[in-house]
Point group: C2
Chain length 323, copies 2
């Protein structure tokens, strides 16, 4: 008998990951290719078609693909479109759900990448069994997915959960989105890098980070320096944790979640980031929440990025079955 | 045939309102009495019992009371308790649901007062027909109720929707809750009064408000002065609108609602408050939300405070019927 799977497509600004995932969240196989987001969308679709066909041919005798889950930046579940993505140069509106449906002749479920990641955490990850939590992906930007009562919070226009764009400082850093002082300009890999450069300007301590230019500096450079006791790097983590922890207290005042699940490049720093986040969040929590909200690191490796869109597809299949 | 009604109890820091409300939201009768929150809870219950009995005796031949809805500050739907209310001197924990159930031998639904108000707006008020909105009550404090997909957002611990305690300024005004810089210390009747006093200290313009002491100054004094063109009062509204509008943009980045519904003393100022709120919210909205979020004034008069707990009771009855 053939195995039932979904085809999971996680579209990122840099890489696109495609996987075959069964109901239990086991990734049977996967491929990764460059999104080449600076080229036209039709180029991307040509590549995607080729890569998916290669993958399917390998497994054709043993699998049965039920549907496709797609996670993408600035994707809107209601409209089925990718809308005004700052990091994909595909133009304003891309009706991606329809195009992928037509290309592969399978039903497609679409969600914002961070929203899909939250579903992945709930079905297969750190949030297994939780009904109210917030997943934060701290990568190039800050993505968020909000789960309320076991369901993704989608909102009236399909675009809930943009916590990366709450305001930290109206006179603060310029954001790619056009606003100023957005949380993701502080609390993300790019954000902590900006903080490191600010600190190198403000302070006098020596630091290995002074030898790396802005374009080349990675989050790993900063966490490696912090682990070796570098003052600039440690101060950058402290500041990042203070800003993120404080804003997480505001999120709690809206949603009263059980936990936050952190993933993405910045979260790999572990305790160096987690401790200041927890301390500052706790300090700013309204009485009713104090001591009740957990902050956890995702146990999913980046290799499991396909689990988010897979969870989306499986949940949609179950919903259709039960409706 | 007797009319089916619910008994609605809205407990406030100053006044308690009790009403008989039918399914369509018609208030058949109501009474108002002083909560006397500085005395013991047992005193309050003696008074409530007497007032409710007086009300019921009047209507006993024509009504059938199905259940009781209770809205109260710091009430928790999950535990059935009022928990650590700063404005009711009844001690830390009051198991009010159980006590009212035993007193009147009827099922009781309990919710935070602002949460109940949001349900009232949805069933009978300005938010009729909406499925995703946020109700803000701008009174002594700032209460909030969040509706997601037609249901009250309750949260993991029963205490979601404390938007009055998101942070405006970590070094800002002291809040009754023990934190510093909470939104309600700026955006409420008390908040705008504090802003007026700050402005009278900072600036030199004459103002009728300089003749009123802190304890006696009301929200109406401030809006009356603003309507007559008083610079201090107008600046206070502008600042209040700027702070509230900016924070509402952060709320949108979480929830993507259709609208905000404003009620309470401060909202009576109308356009003087609404215009700066809308302008500043719009300025801070993330692209995906721009031009999509309405800000509306509640059409409910304060006389209709009983509609919130009534809506709660009717929704609970319908839920039980359908379960």
């Amino acid at each position: 008998m053939s195995k039932e799977v979904v085809l999971s497509i996680d579209i990122g600004g840099t890489l696109t990951k495609v996987g075959l995932v069964n109901r239990e969240g086991k990734v049977l196989d996967k491929i990764v290719f460059k999104t080449d987001a600076q080229h036209q969308f039709s180029n991307f679709m040509d590549k995607l078609k080729l890569e998916v066909e290669t993958l399917i041919i390998k497994w054709i005798d043993v699998i049965h693909i039920l549907s496709i889950g797609v996670g993408a930046p600035n994707a809107n579940s209601y409209t089925g479109q990718i809308e005004n993505p700052p990091n994909l140069k595909w133009g304003g509106i891309t009706p991606i759900k329809k195009i992928i449906e037509q290309t592969f002749d399978l039903p497609v479920s679409l969600a914002n990448d961070a929203n899909a990641a939250a579903l992945g955490e709930m079905l297969y990850g750190t949030a297994k069994g939780m009904k109210n939590f917030v997943a934060l992906t701290l990568g190039t930007g800050l993505g968020s997915g909000i789960i309320v009562d076991g369901k993704l919070l989608i909102g009236e226009h399909g675009t809930a959960g943009e916590i990366g764009h709450v305001n930290v400082d109206p006179a603060g850093r310029m954001c790619n989105c056009g606003l100023q002082g957005c949380l993701e300009t502080y609390a993300s890999v790019t954000g902590i890098k900006r903080t490191v450069f600010e600190l190198m300007a403000d302070r006098c301590e020596d630091s290995p980070l002074r030898k790396i230019n802005f374009e080349e500096m990675t989050g790993t450079d900063i966490s490696d320096a912090a682990l070796k006791g570098d003052v600039i790097a440690l101060t950058a983590f402290e500041k990042t944790g203070e800003i993120l922890g404080s804003k997480m207290a505001d999120t709690v005042a809206h949603l009263d979640p059980e936990a936050f699940i952190l993933s993405g490049g910045l979260s790999k720093a572990g305790d160096i980031l987690l401790k200041p986040i927890k301390r500052h969040m706790q300090k700013r929590l309204f009485n009713a929440y104090k001591g009740k909200i957990e902050v956890l690191l995702s146990n999913a490796t980046s290799a499991e990025a396909v689990l988010g869109p897979a969870a989306l597809a499986w949940l949609e299949l179950d919903h259709l079955t039960h409706a």
